[in-house]
Amino acid sequence: MHGEERKPLRNAVILIVGMLLVWELAYLVVGNVALRSPWQTIAFLGKLMQTDIFWIHLRDTLEAFGVALAIAVVLGLLIGFGLGLHRLSGDAMEPILVALYSIPKITLYPIILLFFGIGLSAKIAFGAIHGIIPVALFTLSAVRTIKPILIKTGHVMKLSPPVMVRSILFPAAVPGIFTGIRVGFSLTLIGTVLGEMFAAQHGLGYLLMNGISLYNVDLIMSVTFLLVVFAATVNTILLAIDRRLHRGV
């Protein structure tokens, strides 16, 4: 039993060490022209973190990402609950949402730029449109699969719609909603960074593109590394909470 519990930890260690080894090997094969070793990347990231300009870019990205995520979650929940509570609307809108989910949203970015102008609001809007749909879709299906007996109990107690949502629907749908937020988190981050890569003057995405024009491999690799580590760490934590929530049902 004890050994079984330790297995995930051991696997994670093997995985991380394995990936670092592959990275190091790739570096040895490709060489200094286009790659840096893991150690060099981390060292450069450390140096980068001592500059003020880095923190300005980081804060810019985090600010846009935070607002975008908040918008995505609030709007996604509203859409998901609205459609989940009305059978016909839900049935009709779900395929439309799925279709919107699968389109390459990056092509919509010029339109968003035309509407919002280059700057923070465009980045936020672009991040948010990546996150809204998954949150809405997961909420929709979570609300729909709530056991009918819970809803009937609510009706019997003559709960008003707001009380119904607050005390029955929301708690019952929390595991599904959380999955939606987890997926929404990743996609909003991707959207925000993508937006910065195409047109922005600040942010980590801008730093990445700047790295190409300056042919600064150190900069590209350390920013990419930072983004990957951040996304993977947060997702691993969210995934652990997610699994616990689903087990509790």
Binding site: K7, P8, N11, A12, I14, L15, G18, M19, V30, A34, L35, L88, S89, D91, A92, M93, P95, I96, V98, A99, S102, I103, P104, I106, T107, L108, Y109, P110, I111, L113, L114, F115, V183, F185, S186, L189, I190, V193, L194, M197, F198, G205, L208, M209, G211, I212, Y215, V217, I220, M221, V223, T224, L227, V228, A231, A232, V234, N235, T236, L239
Partner: protein
């Protein structure tokens, strides 16, 4: 036409009508967005002139190549990985976190490594899709009934024969799901990469039109990409549902 279809049509029509009214009344000015009927007219003109067929063809060829790579390599990896439980356990956290990682962030790195050409675009499209294929394949292979595997063993089929004649046919609906995902991701990867930085392709042309305030080209091209991805995805989903319902899975 069912009530549902009518409802959906009404939603889309209402959205387009709303845009039309907003554009014509000047709430959305002309520089930001032309009214929908003008976009449709420009769309027809653009297709009629055939000016961008080369770019469209090039993008679609890259999408197909990235799709094929992701699908074939993903399927083969899935089949092999299914036989090694430890390797699978180790890779499982990677698969679970994979789609949280902004793969596009690797694009600058790939450009530095391979140069600004088709290579980095293909690689992004491939990387986005391949894990979805592997995970879907593993999921399908997990569901192959024991009795089928035993039958294969009784008939003394080798590993390759078993895969070709028993497990893969059983996994057909999953293969289709995997293909659908790989295609959608290849599309997003290639068009997205062209958009960020490239020398040609549909995504590049959209970015180029944007910098030149050329709405008469930009909006029709965006419309074309949206229509392509929605139609292809819709057709594959319909086929997928057909296969699933035949198996009684839906």
């Amino acid at each position: 036409m069912s009530r549902l279809r009518l409802y959906q049509l009404a939603v889309v029509a209402a959205f387009v009508a709303l845009l039309e009214v907003l554009c014509l009344s000047g709430v959305i000015d002309k520089v930001t967005m032309p009214p929908p009927h003008i976009i449709v007219r420009d769309f027809a003109k653009l297709l009629w002139a055939g000016e961008y067929f080369g770019e469209i063809g090039k993008s679609l060829a890259n999408v197909l190549a990235a799709f094929a790579l992701a699908f074939v390599i993903g399927t083969v990896t899935g089949v092999i990985l299914h036989g090694y439980k430890t390797a699978r356990d180790i890779l499982d956290p990677l698969f679970a976190t994979y789609y949280a990682i902004p793969v596009f962030a690797f694009y600058p790195l790939f450009i530095v490594m391979f140069g600004l050409g088709d290579g980095p675009q293909l690689l992004i499209g491939f990387l986005l899709g391949v894990v979805a294929v592997i995970v879907t394949m593993l999921n399908g292979l997990d569901r192959v009934p024991l009795v089928l595997k035993k039958t294969a063993r009784i008939n003394r089929l080798g590993p390759l024969q078993t895969a070709l004649r028993v497990t893969l046919p059983f996994c057909a609906p999953y293969l289709l799901t995997a293909a659908k995902l790989a295609l959608a991701y290849a599309f997003i990867g290639v068009i997205g990469s062209e958009f960020i930085m490239a020398r040609s392709g549909m995504g590049y042309e959209i970015g180029y039109a944007y910098t030149n305030f050329d709405n008469a080209t930009m909006y029709p091209l965006i419309l074309l990409i949206l229509l392509l991805s929605i139609v292809v995805n819709g057709l594959l989903s319909r086929w997928e549902n057909l296969l699933l319902s035949r198996r009684g899975l839906k």
